[in-house]
């Protein structure tokens, strides 16, 4: 199985190449099938690897596969190599598994689009890059994947490039992500300075001994836990994560990224790419655990993002915008878990979130498809009878995200809330709980507005049809996973073992212990049942409120608007875009125009260049008069020169 590892990457890469060169000449949906099949091959190999890994002892599961020497400068050696361990295989399974389903879905969704083959080219490239990100054995190669998925995200958000607003959204995503990438680069520089290496195994130690690696490196260089250099490294890494994983203050690109086709939103902007920040923190868990300051920042940012984005989701009318803010909010949960040192809980939520959020996005895509590209929920309603499969899958996924047992979201979200309470503080728990209430509320608002009530579109004009099998099959599979996925991480109080926790233990276990030992909170287990009951009650309360307002009373946007100022504030997303625009974008634009362009560029840079040209022009204008064109003058000069040389030789 090990020798098949390169093919996990090469299969989608080959499909990418085939579709790039021949895609435009392919008939029908061939390009889509090639792309889907390639990702499916990756999934099969990954699954095989996973099964093989399960058969081994926990310490022997990690596979280190070196492909090529890449950079070898002084002491620093960076290889093109893959580190496949318990953490990366989880992400690889999600990427290739959910990726295959979304590719299949896209064949039907993108049918007839004139960029059909181009779409699959980008999608395959994305899969390749995302796999690099999680499989790499060093920060630099991860960074390459990091940039690659950013590029694919840009290309796919602006996929329908003939509309200017899509291009603007794509550029926004790219520029905002650059700010985060800057942090990643600084962190890598600091790591090179401190550890003299970028390899995970050097910095974090190997396998079960990861913590010893940092201790060795740290002690050799006189580093204590909480050393400033560790705080700088981790804070800068986290800045990168806030960009890629859409956290405050860099979350603003994700809602706009919904301009891309819906499968893109499901794959890139919900299930995989936006979770790479969580991957990075979980991968570097020991570094983070050794810097409590950073962990505090991570937890705070995560919690605030969770509640902030959830509240924006309440009054959005675009079905994809609701899901986008929901994604931002759920990512906030994951960072909250990481921030309190519960790395397993964060990764667990990545997995369950990938299932139910991909299902929700694909469901919304089916709705949008059936409604002929209408995304406004105020113009939907009553779709339940037209789209039964879509409705039921969407409904189950909604139950999962709302946190109703035994759906997947319940286990992961409850785990996060419990960890926030027991390892963090009551305040963090409270913020998370309120955000959970809002989540249940806005998701059911979306369900009721979309599927219940009287149709608010012209029913006789066009009748929405249920989508074909290529679209509903992924929906059904993902809905099924949303139902059962949670059993991977059953809380230990249930008696059964927590599968994902014991699986990830060799990677994140020691990080969790360190952060527990250094944090203020203590693991207390007495209240777990009670807390679980509370979080279920919270979810039910959110749902009941939504039922009362949107199911019984059939409230619409016009009624919501009666709330006045608060509605305006939330509906307009707290004017964050406007504040950024006025506070950052406009000043930069003004400085660029009035100072950088008109003074630095035109006067100084152009001035220097033009000045040199001017000097040369004036100088040569006078010197050129030597060239008279009369051969005798030249001869005189030759003779004079000869006389001087001969005179010189004779004299000395």
């Amino acid at each position: 199985m090990t020798q098949l590892i390169p093919y996990i990457v090469l299969a989608p890469l080959a499909a990418f190449a085939i579709n790039t060169f021949f895609g435009s000449r392919m008939k029908g949906q061939l390009a889509g099938w090639i792309a889907t099949f390639a990702v499916f091959i990756s999934f099969i190999i990954t699954a095989g690897l996973f099964i093989q890994m399960m058969g081994r002892a926990p310490e022997e599961r990690a596979i280190h596969y070196t492909m090529l020497d890449w950079i070898h400068v002084g002491r620093v050696q960076v290889n093109i190599a893959y580190l496949i361990d318990q953490l990366s295989i989880v992400f690889m399974l999600v990427i290739t598994g959910v990726g295959t389903l979304i590719h299949l879905y896209s064949i039907a969704y993108m049918k007839g689009d004139r960029g059909f083959w181009r779409f699959f080219v980008y999608l395959n490239l994305f899969i390749v890059m995302m796999l690099q990100l999680v499989m790499a054995d060093n920060y630099l190669w991860t960074f390459l994947g990091w940039e690659g998925v950013g590029l694919c995200s840009y290309l796919l958000i602006g996929f329908w490039y003939d509309e200017n607003k899509n291009n603007d959204a794509a550029k926004k995503a790219f520029v905002v992500n650059r700010i985060g990438d800057f942090g990643f680069l600084v962190a890598m520089g600091a790591m090179l300075y401190q550890f003299g290496s970028l390899n995970y195994l050097d910095i974090l130690g190997s396998g079960g001994n990861m913590v010893d690696g940092v201790r060795h490196a740290g002690m050799a260089m006189g580093l204590a836990a909480g050393a400033p250099i560790l705080t700088i490294i981790t804070l800068m890494l986290f800045l990168g994560c806030t960009g890629k994983s859409a956290q405050i203050p860099l979350y603003v690109w994700l809602p706009d990224a919904m301009a891309g086709p819906t499968p893109v939103s499901a794959l890139i902007h919900a299930a995989t790419m936006v979770t790479s920040g969580i991957f990075l923190v979980a991968r570097s868990n020991i570094l983070f655990a050794l810097s409590p300051t950073t962990l505090g920042v991570v937890a705070a940012v995560g919690a605030v993002t969770a509640i902030f984005a959830a509240s924006i989701g309440i009054f959005q009318n675009d079905i994809k915008k609701v899901l986008a803010y929901s994604t931002v909010s759920q990512l906030g949960y994951m960072f909250l878990a990481l921030g309190v040192g519960a790395f397993t809980a964060g990764v667990f939520h990545v997995v369950t979130h990938a299932f139910f959020k991909a299902c929700l996005f694909l469901g919304s895509g089916a709705v949008i498809h059936a409604m002929h590209h209408e995304q406004d929920m105020q113009k939907m309603g009553g779709l339940k009878k037209y789209l039964p499969i879509t409705f039921w899958t969407f409904f189950f996924a909604t139950l999962a995200i709302a946190g109703i047992p035994p759906f997947a979201g319940f286990f992961s979200k409850d785990e996060i809330l419990w960890q926030a309470f027991s390892r963090g503080s009551v305040l963090l728990w409270l913020i998370g709980a309120i955000a959970a209430l809002m989540t249940a509320f806005y998701m059911f608002r979306a369900v009721f507005l979309t599927f219940y009530g009287k149709p608010r579109f012209d029913e006789h004009h066009h009748t929405p049809h249920e989508v074909d099998w290529k679209m509903w099959l992924p929906l059904v599979v993902l809905a099924a996973l949303s139902i059962v996925g949670g059993f991977l991480g059953m809380p230990s109080v249930f008696g059964a073992g927590n599968a994902i926790e014991s699986w990830l233990e060799p990677i994140v276990g020691q990080g969790e212990h360190i952060s527990l030992a250094m944090g203020t909170g203590a693991e207390n287990t007495g209240l777990e049942w009670a807390m679980m009951a509370v979080s279920v009650a919270i979810a039910l309360a959110g749902i009941l409120i939504a039922v009362r307002i949107y199911e019984r009373k059939r409230t619409l946007a016009a009624d919501e608007a009666k709330l006045g100022g608060i509605y305006q504030l939330v509906h307009n997303k707290y004017y964050v875009d406007e504040i950024y625009n006025a506070g950052i974008v406009q000043p930069i634009y003004n400085i660029s125009e009035s100072f950088l362009w008109k003074i630095v560029d035109v006067r100084i840079i152009d001035g220097i260049i033009n000045g040199f040209a001017h000097i040369a022009e004036i100088g040569s204008g006078s010197i050129r008069r030597i060239q008279t064109g009369i051969a005798q003058n030249y001869a005189v000069l030759i003779v004079v020169g000869l006389a001087i040389v001969v005179g010189w030789l004779v004299m000395f």
């Binding site: 060239q627 008279t628 064109g629 051969a631 005798q632």
Partner: protein, 100 residues
């Protein structure tokens, strides 16, 4: 027999006259004649040295110079005629378009 220095002095005077003529006269034919003068000044030097050093190599070299000078005279006169046909003059200061 006059000493070597006399021959060399005459040769040097002829060479300088020739050089100044080449550099400062305007008529192409006169310039051409001055070139011949310079060649003959050099010939005189060669002959003088050959005689005083008892080595005949210098005399042989003079034959070569004369041969080349004859060929050069033929080509040079042809060029001057061609120039005159184009510009109706042999004033070299008028032939100054090869510049800037």
């Amino acid at each position: 027999m006059a000493p070597l220095s006399h021959y060399l002095a005459v040769s040097a005077i002829l060479f300088v006259i020739g050089t100044v003529g080449v550099l400062f006269r305007r008529n192409a034919i006169i310039i051409f004649m001055c070139v011949e003068l310079m060649l003959n000044a050099v010939n005189l030097t060669l002959i003088a040295f050959a005689q005083f050093l008892g080595d005949q190599t210098g005399q042989i070299l003079v034959f070569f110079v004369m041969t080349v000078a004859a060929a050069e005279a033929a080509v040079g006169l042809a060029i001057i005629i061609a120039l005159f046909r184009n510009k109706q003059t042999v004033d070299v200061t008028k032939m100054n378009i090869l510049k800037w």
